[in-house]
Symmetry: C2
Subunit: 151 residues, 2 copies
């Protein structure tokens, strides 16, 4: 899947991503990075709204799983089960969220279980950056379930 | 602050809340509840997008602190520092997020420290419901800092 196709996919399938103006900055490896402008995601302090930051971060993990399972020929639906985020500094401009590729062993275990039992879980780390510095860190657990066709 | 005024405040100050169609369902006590419709917050599965759910939840905690500090005559700016959310069931319709009032002792400690040191932190619990059942739970820590004027 190309960056532009993933961006269009988000905008069509998750209306809020259009309003957040989510972009795909990098499809990786080594990671998958999304971007968003400040203005559409600002709060009353003129910095990025915590909800937008968490949304962009959780989407990066989802997108990494979505594109990697598709590349591996696995049709599955993926949902976030839980997440933790810490906000380390205020964001005063455009920002990115990059999902770090999981270790090969974690990825293999995830796909093996998914193929064998029809469902599986994986925990991913996402780093949010603004002005080349870390602004927030998210860790999220996603649940995948095999489906008959691609979603 | 009236429910409608808080709703307008959100829509004016945090543009994304307009697109999420955030409403104020209840100003409490016993808690402060926000609402959002499914359609504007849907994902590709036709259920509520995890980012929207987390955003509505974190806003409920923020709004409770904002309204309660104003009522107490304290001018301060409030930002979320960290949060954890667990998604318990899919949301297939309009949903609400209710921030539970903190214990009196926790509130007193929060405001006392805020008055004395100019800044303080508090952790709040928020419950997201759909169809009268719990769909997600968020716990978030907010940092407040006294300001010269109301924000």
């Amino acid at each position: 899947m190309e960056a532009k196709a993933l961006e269009n996919f988000f905008h069509e399938q998750i209306p809020l991503t259009r309003h957040m103006q989510v972009g795909v900055a990098e499809l990786g490896p080594p990671g998958l990075c999304l971007s968003a402008p400040l203005e559409a995601n600002a709060n009353l302090h003129g910095t990025a709204f915590g909800g937008s930051i968490a949304s962009l971060a959780v989407l990066a993990g989802w997108a990494l799983l979505h594109t990697r399972t598709r590349s591996a020929g696995i049709n599955c639906s993926i949902v976030v089960q839980k997440s933790e985020i810490s906000y380390e500094r205020a964001i005063r401009g455009n920002f990115t969220s990059c999902c770090i590729e999981p270790e090969n062993s974690a990825w293999d275990k995830f796909t093996r279980t998914l193929q064998k039992r029809g469902k599986s879980r994986i925990t991913l780390d996402v780093v949010v950056e603004y002005d080349n510095q870390v602004a927030a860190r998210l860790q999220a657990t996603y649940a995948a379930e095999k489906t008959a066709s691609s979603i």
